[in-house]
């Protein structure tokens, strides 16, 4: 069992090593794309372009929390809420302006997204790599990858909306989609469990996809070159 797992981890390592640049680009692209998608959904949902941006001194905020929170156990959840950037829409029709909605870039969540993107990119590279994983298993692993990525992506959303107490929470996305208010709040506590389930699905599918190919020499076989792939390879050459 341990040998089989080690063998699969070796396969994953080999694929990532051979296609590291592509993996890195995919990882970063998925992360940036995710936040662009969140911003696009806010713009489409509310019909306004962002009209303000704020930069927060995140290191100083973290230092303040560390200095003023006696319990070490209390620190992580508070630090996890700290913003680095905020882009939003300020409604000036009433009073001096109300931040109607915002996309918050929270470093802790960015790290979670980078991990998600890294796993997703690895899964995609393995899906395109010829291992001895059967087609059925590859389909199942692909579905699990999509489901896992969906769980993590949904629960990592950092949009805030003044109606949801104006704090970034993942249920804002669900509320924006029209989910009932009470239902959204009811499922909010299961967010961390969904995130964990998402990561587990991604890890399992990664392991499933990394069954070494039976080429006799244990080497990984690259997929047949397609014009698109050739172009990508050429770009990295």
């Amino acid at each position: 069992m341990a040998v089989a797992l080690r063998s699969r981890l070796t396969t994953i390592g080999d694929v990532l090593h051979r296609r590291f640049s592509l993996w890195l680009i995919l990882t970063l692209s998925f992360t940036v794309g995710y936040y662009l998608l969140l911003m696009a959904s806010l713009i489409l949902r509310f019909g306004n372009l962002p009209n303000y941006a704020r930069v927060y001194n995140w290191p100083e905020s973290v230092w303040t929390i560390v200095r003023s929170t006696p319990s070490i156990r209390d620190m992580p959840p508070i630090i996890a809420e700290e913003y680095l950037l905020e882009f939003g829409y300020m409604n000036y029709d009433y009073g001096l302006g109300i931040s109607e909605w915002a996309l918050n870039i929270i470093p802790y969540k960015v790290v979670l997204m980078l991990v998600l993107s890294g796993l997703l990119a690895a899964n995609l590279l393995l899906l395109r790599t010829k291992t001895s994983c059967s087609t059925g298993s590859r389909l199942k692993a692909g579905a699990a990858t999509g489901l896992g990525a969906g769980f993590v992506a949904v629960t990592s959303a950092t949009m805030s909306w003044v109606v949801c107490c104006a704090t970034p929470t993942w249920i804002v996305g669900l509320s924006m989609l029209g989910l009932g208010v009470s239902t959204a709040f009811w499922i909010e506590p299961i967010g961390p469990w969904l995130t964990a389930a998402g990561y587990l699905l991604l890890c399992f599918s990664l392991i499933a996809l990394s069954k070494p190919s039976d080429t006799g020499d244990g080497q990984i076989v690259e997929p047949a070159p397609s014009p698109q792939i050739s172009t990508r390879k050429g770009a990295h050459a």
């Binding site: 905020s61 303040t64 929390i65 200095r67 003023s68 929170t69 006696p70 319990s71 156990r73 209390d74 508070i78 809420e81 700290e82 409604n91 029709d93 009433y94 009073g95 001096l96 302006g97 109300i98 931040s99 109607e100 909306w161 003044v162 109606v163 949801c164 107490c165 104006a166 704090t167 509320s175 009932g180 208010v181 009470s182 959204a184 709040f185 009811w186 909010e188 506590p189």
Partner: protein, 458 residues
């Protein structure tokens, strides 16, 4: 040996010279989170800030003789972010409404090492006015039970949301109303455009919609009968380290309330400049007979109301438990009262019921040039409106009182009943006005119709 001698010498030199060095000034950072779009927080927020009342009251002698104060104010559109900033210790003091206050206390008590204290109120309405349900001005909906099968929006988690839940439960229409989550600004815009059947919101949004002529109240929070209050929370570690600073802040809150009570017209004029909320709207809250009673004491009834609100939140949002005894303290507000030579117990036992307190108060006209004018009877008031309209004088607003609840209303949104004996009464809700009209064999009319009877015919 040589190093030891040098060290001893250096130590002695420092010990001798230190007392003669000027003391290094200590800086105390005081960061306050407030809400300029929530009227009931003004006496602990924008008024204290703009009048410099905290600076005036901060201790400057004894242990604080060499202290520098670094005061910062942060304006938020709701209480939630204030709580998050307090958890991160970027705010020491927060001002917010009842529901967000409870979330604040519960979130802090859910941590191992951090706590807040609820140290004072800012103001209240005994029966819950401030929250209301509004419909588009041309809607044919006049009462809550007509919302069956309709869509109602509200900012979820706010006091208005809590009121709406209770109101729908009381009316037995909870299952038949589609509840939507909408911000105050979006809700107000949708009411103006007639895109939503009704919107429930907190102070002063309902009155903004009424004043702008886009919305009409069909339900006032006072009908729910649960007090609506706002208050001040402070990080416990800050309060314990600098109790005199907290007392100074509460003295500033008390003085802010007095300043408004003594000069309501001047106060709302300035507050409009500070907040962007129309002064005519603010007047309905801060004037004599207004919705808001400025009183920072912590009454037993308030604690009961907060406990009730907590049960609503537990049911709807699964928030953590809250130990009210550990969270609420009267120590600081009592100290502030004592410093100002005021009687805390007298204010604590005094409760203003608008129905009683506002009975017989004069109707008012806000004349653009002459300011607030008062009229003892409705015929006098209506004749004055007719006369001003005849001369083309600009009237900012008119104010009357709801006979059923004692609430102050805009004249233009009130239902007038002309009784058989020629007397007038005014009402917030159409059903109340209709019932009264039937009782006195009167006629239900609006302000323009009532005024028309006083326009000279020749």
């Amino acid at each position: 040996m040589k190093h030891t001698t040098f060290g001893i010498g250096l130590g002695l030199a420092l010990a001798v010279s230190l007392p003669s060095l000027p003391a290094l000034a200590k800086t105390i950072d005081i960061a306050i989170g407030h809400q300029s779009m929530c009227t009931d927080t003004y006496t602990a927020g924008i008024v204290v800030k703009e009048l410099g009342l905290l600076e005036k009251n901060l201790p400057k002698d004894g242990a604080y003789a060499d202290v520098d104060y670094n005061i910062t104010w942060a304006d938020y559109s709701s209480g939630g972010p204030i709580t998050n900033q307090m958890l991160a210790n970027k705010l020491n003091i927060g001002v917010m409404g009842d529901y967000p206050l409870i979330v604040n206390g519960a979130k802090f008590q859910a941590t191992d090492s951090l706590r807040t204290l609820y140290i004072a109120g800012t103001g209240y309405n005994l029966k819950g006015s401030g929250n209301a349900v509004v419909v588009p001005v041309d809607s044919d909906i006049y009462s809550l039970d007509q919302l069956k099968g309709k869509s109602v929006s509200t900012p979820v988690g706010s006091a208005a949301w809590g009121m709406l839940l209770k109101a729908m439960q009381d009316a037995g229409i909870t299952e038949e109303v589609s509840l939507k989550n909408q911000s105050p600004a979006v809700g107000a815009a949708n009411i103006a455009a007639g895109k939503i059947d009704a919107h429930s919101d907190f102070c002063p949004w309902s009155e903004i919609m009424e004043f702008r002529g886009t919305g009409r109240k069909i339900y006032d929070g006072s009908e729910a009968g649960v007090p609506y209050l706002h208050g001040v929370v402070v990080r416990q570690d800050f309060a314990e380290e600098y109790p005199e600073v907290i007392t100074a802040f509460l003295k500033a809150v008390i003085e802010a309330g007095k300043w408004i009570e003594e000069n309501p017209s001047e106060a709302v004029d300035l507050m409009e400049k500070w907040t962007g909320v129309e002064k005519e709207v603010l007047y309905i809250y801060f004037s004599n007979g207004g919705h808001l009673t400025l009183d920072p004491t912590i009454k037993d009834k308030w604690v009961e109301a907060l406990k009730f609100d907590h049960t609503v939140l537990v049911k709807e949002k699964a928030i953590p438990p809250l130990d009210f005894d550990a969270w609420i303290t009267e120590d600081y507000i009592k100290a502030a009262y004592a410093d100002l030579g005021m009687d805390y117990d007298a204010d604590k036992t005094s409760v203003v019921d608008p129905e009683v307190a506002n009975a017989g108060l004069p109707a008012e006209i806000w004349h653009s040039r002459d300011g607030i004018l008062k009229y003892e009877s409705y015929p006098e008031f209506l004749k004055a409106v007719a006369d001003f309209q005849g001369t083309g004088a600009k009237l900012n607003a008119t104010y009357v009182y709801d006979k059923a609840t004692g609430l102050k209303l805009f004249g233009k949104t009130a239902y007038f009943v002309l009784a058989e004996d020629g007397s007038y009464e005014t009402f917030l809700r159409k059903p109340d006005a209709e019932a009264y009209a039937a009782e006195v064999k009167g006629e239900l009319i609006d302000l323009p119709t009532a005024v028309a009877a006083f326009i000279p015919t020749e």
